[in-house]
Amino acid sequence: MKAAVLQFPGSNCDQDALAALRDGLGIEAGYRWHKETTLGDFDLVVVPGGFSYGDYLRCGAIARFSPIMKAVVAFAERGGKVLGICNGFQILCEAGLLPGALIVNDCLEYRCLTPHLRVEEAGPLFNPASLGPLLRLPIGHGEGNYRIAPEGLAELKANGQVLFRYADAAGRVTEAANPNGSIDNIAGIRNRAGNVFGMMPHPDRAFAAYHPSQDGLAVFRSLLELPAPAHA
């Protein structure tokens, strides 16, 4: 197993993602700089959180044009697995690898907290059977309000492309449990083919004993099709 973590100049969760993969999962992982034009041989490419190029215009708008993203698009088109976390999710939407867009939170403020997420039947990798029905993962973003036109939403649902939805502690998907105004409480999605994933919550902030939850490990494992540890 080998994973690459992209580094844009304003990435600031690159180290967290690398630590989650190396220390949390114990797999091989390394960085790829945004100015590089080739990717190399990996089982997973993580587009980490942060503020890729400052993101003053629109989150991910400029990152999309970076040299490494051409390689990422090609990798995804060959069926390679790509995970965008937070800013990474925004970048993948801007790059057209995932449908929809992320706009400013409806509270017009940044939100840092650890909500519950209801796991949807999203395919062989992300599903309640491999992850459990309810997760807790930290969020930290100002623009995580997922938007998609009604036809697009219907398609997402029809194809099982919704990974998680913000929920309350009992797993109910309510308006009060929605931290940013996302349509249908959507917190994460995948592409239709099932190899590109985007999520606002941070599995990379949920793997160590002192983190608010360790559910991030299960998320990475399901994605990499790693078995859960025997004692779990």
């Binding site: 100049p9 304003g10 967290d16 400052g54 409806d106 940044y110 840092c112 002192y210 608010p212």
Partner: protein, 774 residues
């Protein structure tokens, strides 16, 4: 000695004669002008006048506060080579550095951006964060966290709301974008700060001992580089009027506020750390903060005992036609000055190119001891560097004890009517619902407190705790806290100063951390008012006494004076940031007792007093009484005792008693834990007034939760250590806070849920905007 005048400045506007008016408006006294002429051996140019004016301002020279700062201990009394040893002392460099063991160290410092935030809260606060982050990475440290201390007027005022919203959003914007977790801080709301909010930001970074960098220029001929953002006319600040009036451009085009670019700072941070990691590449480095290029150039030269020469034509400029006055005094953000080892210029340039940043070769180190500024090859300023820094004037200001102190300290609680049970009951939700005491989640949920994935205790507890990865040396767990009750300092500055430090220590100890050192920010009014200066002198003396008592040296800090609104000076508000280390992560102790069946033990007893309390303020509208009592020796003993009991595994939770007193602390300990309540038996606590018992703010008190099995041992250990400890109740499963009072009266009771709602919703509701979901 007389020297020939400099040639005329290329910008004719700067060649006007230095009139009385110009000199006065640069804030320079006659004696200071005489000193300048003596240092230069001639009349200064206008550019030089500007340079002296900013370097000899309070902000850069500490001319009025230096004598007071000498009171602070700069090193640990108890020497040894354990954690806490001072590696870089306060005043030596941009930030102090202390040992945390295993060859690793932390650099940390607090700084204010009060006045810019009053003018433009968002940008003012944001650039405050940016500035303090640069002070830390200029030391060679990787910043790993920030905290902040905020003071505003009462939150029911719309202007205060606007400032509060803007400041918090600005801090969030800058810190979140760079990717530094915000681990906490404090916020007070009080009339005294109306019109003059306080915005103090702290940053802490980590480095190995052998990575410490100095802000010193040395090695004649070594090139001087300017790196980062281009220079604009921003923040020409207090000294700008001269050039503003001299040139024709309208004032509106030259705002005194700077705007920050956190993305730029992130690039600068990474590029600088990458450069500093290459052995031998960097000779010296300093950020451009207040007084920008001027301050970094003359300070590095003075520290290195060298001279420096810079050519302004080489300085990257954002605007056209900037003159030497403007370039030298600009406070554009996100810039650094770097002295590079000669012959290795290409290596530095390659690193900055990688990060798409300017790296401009603007000059070199000389052996003249002078700061020479050239434009188009001809000198526009030529000043002995030390004349601007070490030889800046220092004054002993006059002090006078304000008359009001005697009056407030004489206040007798007996002058208040004795409270009825109903009054005691209604007081608690009111206290919990006052923004000063209420939950600050509205603030810290806007701050990313989890980025870097190293946050062990997020904001909301007594102190934030972060894990530090020290490579081969293993992990370290560091606690950080801000404290600064200005109300106590207003009522009794000496005692108030002691309390500021003691409270910070208590907060660290409650999380299980052993205190190491503090940084301080002295926020006061106009030092030329003898009453204001008295308050400052006394508060600093009190802080210094406490620092010595706890053996926690001051590693650095900042002074912010002239904090006044038309109504007068703010409450004297020294703020400290304190750090401590957990010897073992297992010692981490929550301030929250999340389950029923725990015994509650009060450390520090029941002194009966109400002076300076939030109860007096919120319930009776009074700002009076003496500051609460404190005994530094007792506190020290208690802190040691508590750390010992934590290490022994006797403590399930610990929370210090601060604003609001005993009941507020007890309620906070069980908030958010479903169905958990508290039952307190205070029948043995006989005293003159029940309100003082419940809501007084006597210092040195901690509420502990422990298991019933461990209770007897804990009480015994306390007796052996000479610490006052008594069982006062337990946590229950009925979701109620119940209190039995002395004298067999009926007792008081509240629903914890309702109290929780008052506490968690107060700021939220005050800041709610119709039509926007919160």
């Amino acid at each position: 000695m007389t020297r020939p005048p400099l040639p005329p400045n290329p910008d004719p506007v700067l060649n006007v004669p230095l009139t009385e008016e110009l000199i006065r408006r640069h804030g320079l006294l006659d004696e200071e002008m005489a000193r300048i002429r003596e240092l230069l051996g001639r009349e200064p140019t206008l550019t030089e006048l500007g340079i002296f004016s900013v370097m000899w301002s309070e902000h850069c020279s500490y001319k009025n506060s230096k004598p007071l700062l000498r009171l602070f201990p700069l090193e640990k009394a108890e020497t040894g080579d354990g954690p806490g040893r001072i590696l870089v002392k306060a005043g030596e460099e941009n930030a102090g550095v202390i040992d945390i063991g295993g060859g690793w160290a932390v650099a940390f410092k607090i700084e204010s951006h009060n006045h810019p935030s009053a003018v433009e809260p968002f940008e003012g606060a944001a650039t405050g964060v940016g500035g303090i982050i640069r002070d830390i990475f200029t030391m060679g440290a990787r910043p790993i966290l920030v905290t902040n201390s905020l003071r505003f007027g009462e939150l029911d005022d719309p202007t205060v709301k606007r400032l509060f919203r803007g400041v918090v959003a600005g801090i969030a914007h800058y810190g979140n974008c760079i990717g530094l977790p915000n681990l906490g801080g404090d916020v007070y709301f009080d009339d005294s700060y109306e019109g003059n909010p306080l915005v103090n930001a702290l940053c802490l970074g980590v480095l190995r001992h052998d990575e410490i960098k100095r802000g010193a220029a040395s090695g004649v001929g070594n090139p001087v580089y300017y790196v980062g953002a281009a220079t604009g006319r921003d923040g020409l600040g207090g000294a700008s009027f001269a050039s503003r009036e001299l040139s024709e451009e309208s004032q509106a085009d030259r705002p005194a506020v700077q705007k920050g670019d956190p993305f730029m700072e992130k690039l600068l941070l990474e590029a600088c750390l990458e450069m500093m990691a290459v052995p031998g590449l960097v000779v010296g480095i300093q950020d451009m903060g207040a007084a920008g290029l001027t301050c970094s150039a003359c300070e590095t030269a003075a520290r290195g005992g060298a001279g420096i020469e810079i050519e302004l034509d080489q300085v990257p400029q954002r605007e056209t036609g900037m003159n030497s006055y403007e370039i030298m005094l600009s406070e554009s953000q996100e810039r650094m000055l770097v002295i590079v080892q000669k012959g290795r210029e290409a290596e530095v340039e390659a690193i900055f190119e990688k990060w798409d940043l300017h790296a401009a070769h603007v000059g070199q180190v000389t052996d003249t001891g002078r700061m020479v500024v050239l434009q188009g090859g001809s000198p526009v300023a030529d000043i002995p560097a030390r004349g601007l820094t070490d030889e800046a004037p220092v004054y002993q200001r006059e002090t006078r004890r304000p008359a009001y102190l005697d009056e407030v300290q004489r206040w007798d609680p007996a002058s208040l009517p004795a409270p009825a049970a109903a009054d005691l009951e209604t007081a608690l939700p009111k206290l919990l619902g006052h923004p000063t005491i209420a939950s600050k989640a509205w603030v810290y949920r806007q701050y990313d407190h989890m980025v870097r994935a190293s946050t062990v205790v997020a904001p909301g507890s007594d102190a934030g705790v972060v894990r530090i990865d020290c490579g081969e040396a293993g992990d370290r767990y560091l606690a950080v806290v801000n404290d600064g009750n200005g109300r106590y300092c207003a009522l009794n500055p000496r005692r108030g100063g002691q309390i500021v430090v003691a409270e910070a220590m208590r907060n660290l100890v409650c999380t299980g951390a052993r205190p190491l050192a503090v940084t301080d920010n002295l926020n006061f009014g106009n030092p030329y008012k003898p009453e204001v200066f008295y308050l400052m002198a006394e508060a600093v003396a009190g802080m210094a006494e406490a620092c010595r008592a706890f053996d926690t040296p001051v590693t650095g800090g900042n002074v912010s004076l002239y904090n006044e609104s038309p109504r007068g000076a703010i409450d004297p508000t020294p703020v400290v940031g304190a750090v401590g280390l957990l010897e073992d992560p297992a010692h981490l102790t929550p301030s929250h007792a999340g389950r029923a069946g725990l015994t509650l033990v009060l450390i520090g007893g029941f002194p009966f007093e109400l002076g300076g309390s939030q109860y007096l303020k919120i319930i009776h509208g009074l700002k009076t009484g003496d500051a609460p009592s404190i005994d530094l020796e007792i506190e020290k003993t208690q802190n040691t005792f508590l750390l010992d009991r934590i290490a022994a595994g006797d403590v399930a939770a610990a929370h210090d008693l601060s604003e609001g007193g005993l009941l507020v602390a007890a309620a906070e300990m069980v908030f958010g834990a479903d169905g958990v309540g508290v039952s307190l038996d205070l029948t043995a606590a006989d005293g003159p007034r029940a309100d003082a018992l419940l809501y007084g703010e006597s210092q040195g008190r901690i509420l502990l939760a422990t298991t019933p099995e461990k209770t007897a041992g804990l009480i015994q250990a306390a007796a052996a250590a000479g610490v006052s400890a008594q069982v006062i109740g337990e946590t229950t499963g009925d979701g109620r806070l119940e209190v039995r009072l002395p004298g067999g009266s009926k007792g008081l009771g509240w629903s914890v849920d309702e109290l929780h709602r008052a506490w968690s919703g107060a700021i939220e509701q005050a800041m709610h905007r119709p039509g926007i979901r919160s």
